[in-house]
């Protein structure tokens, strides 16, 4: 994996800074509302990481990530609320269902190339939106969704600590995974799939493994999010805007880098939050589209590359 001292330093600093955020609230330097915004950012970061593992390197763009997130969220919500399964069991089960269910449904799509994959994933998200409303609405809550789902934490600080710990664990895990030869193989796959096969590697297996990791993260984050919110609304979950938010977070942060999508998720969440007083409606999304575009023109590899470049220049001067 070739880890250097500055990798440890950067991760140490990031983890320390994130875990110390609630102390800023204690000191009166930050509002509790900001902490709640950061919780949203942590979940978006996990979704963006999940997207990045599958799509950031391989070029198989998923437009249907809420499909995976939805399986995780509905899975644990239904298991815990309707069947009384304890949360310690319902969450792992929901994650497992996300991985298996997602793979069974999308494995055929992974065999087809590029843009078709995007279309198929989009179709499955829409299909799932329709299905949860008509099939067993007694379980799914139909159009209205589910509420009164058991929450795991009380108060902003606890909610934040849970979300940020999960997010950091997921980010570190995926970052390490992408630094192995598996990560190199996924880069290569996105650059020339035939040549990967011509190098003796089964491309369908590589894609399926990337998909499983992606589904694991999506299911996990979806499940924990539903136990944070305590409710679940299908219209918001399977919204095309939520797809774009995930993809834009990953892209402006820096696709393929894992840490980039985390940066992108925080940037985007706070941007939307700051814009809220000025632009209360959906036109906020237009603004972030514009911001993303400008950023993209300045540095197509995203915020991560901008920071990396800055650090290198500083380092060179010192």
């Amino acid at each position: 994996m070739n880890l250097r001292w500055y990798h440890f330093a950067a991760w140490g600093a990031l983890i320390a800074a994130m875990l110390l955020m609630p102390r800023l609230v204690d000191l009166g330097l930050m509002g509790r509302g900001t902490l709640r915004t950061m919780i949203q950012a942590c979940y978006l970061a996990m979704f963006a990481i999940s997207w990045d593992v599958l799509s950031g390197r391989t070029g198989y763009i998923s437009f249907g990530h809420p499909f995976l997130i939805g399986i995780g969220a509905y899975g644990t919500a239904i298991l815990s609320k309707k069947f009384g399964v304890p949360v310690e069991l319902s969450i792992p089960l929901a994650v497992l269902i996300t991985m298996i269910g997602g793979l069974v449904v999308l494995l055929p799509a992974l065999r087809i190339k590029g843009s078709y994959f995007a279309l198929v994933t989009l179709a499955f998200m829409e299909l799932m939106y329709q299905l949860v409303q008509v099939i067993r609405p007694d379980l799914t809550g139909g159009t209205r969704g589910l509420s009164g789902i058991k929450t795991l934490t009380r108060g902003a600080e606890n909610g934040y600590m849970l979300a940020v710990s999960l997010m950091l664990a997921v980010a570190l895990g995926c970052w390490l995974l992408m630094r192995t030869r598996f990560g190199t193989a996924l880069w290569a796959l996105g650059q020339n799939e035939e040549a990967v096969s011509g190098s003796g590697l089964s491309t369908i297996r590589l894609k399926a493994m990337a998909f499983l990791v992606s589904a694991f993260v999506a299911g996990l984050a979806g499940a924990f999010l539903v136990h944070y919110n305590g409710s679940l609304a299908p219209r918001a979950m399977f919204d095309i805007n939520s797809v774009f938010t995930i993809i834009v977070a990953a892209l402006i942060g820096g696709a393929g880098t894992i840490l980039g999508p985390v940066l992108g998720a925080f940037f985007l969440t706070f941007l939307l939050e700051w814009l809220r007083p000025f632009l209360p409606g959906a036109e906020r999304f237009l603004v972030y589209g514009a911001v993303a575009l400008v950023l993209y023109m300045y540095q197509p590899k995203g915020i991560y590359a901008i920071i990396e470049g800055g650090l290198k220049r500083l380092w060179g001067r010192a």
């Binding site: 880069w187 020339n192 590697l201």
Partner: protein, 246 residues
Amino acid sequence: MSARLQVSNLVKRFGGLTATNDMSFTVEPGESVGLIGPNGAGKTTIFSQIMGEHRQTSGQIHMGEQEISALSTPARIRRGVSRTYQVPRPFPEITVAENIRVGLMPDSVWQMVTRGADRDRERELALAVGFAEADLDRTPAELSMGDLRKLEMARTLATDPKVMLLDEVFAGLTVGEIATISALVQKLRDQGMTFLIVSHDLKALEPLIDRAIAIDRGTKIAEGAYSEVIADAGVRASYLGGGGDA
């Protein structure tokens, strides 16, 4: 380290075009065979079928005793056959070392994750095909055509083949680069590697092969010692335009 490659009654049709027409030949272990013929004769298409990148319309391909015609490309590579591409296919955004790394990887995600890269072997392969130490960290975008062909050779070698199929390895190379690749092929031959080599540069090809197969429009028209094949009337007519000194 060697194995016998056998192609039997191979036929490949692209719509109405017969790109491979009842082709049969054998490359014995340790042997080096030249495959020659004019542009569009079907040389690359034969390679693609041996590798499983194109499925044959009919016929069989064997590696040793085993039929490989129905296997996937990675499975064939595991059986010990590997090729270079006429148009190099590097991974443009990763380094030379990482390109070679992809060829070295076992086809097991578990091993990719749990075992690190073999940097010594990457370096060894890069140097063997004529790269300098400093080239390891360069990306293919910075490489010349000669370097890209070296990279093809290195990645093909990385899969640890018994039989290597080289497609136009000398095209677009300088005299010095041709000498480097030729020396590498000679060295591998001495070690017992089996070769099937396509080249338009007959002067560079001749010293590297034990015998030649000439094809035209998908059909084998001559097979034997290089000088005999080149002297063959049919070969001269189709390939050399009826005369001239290749």
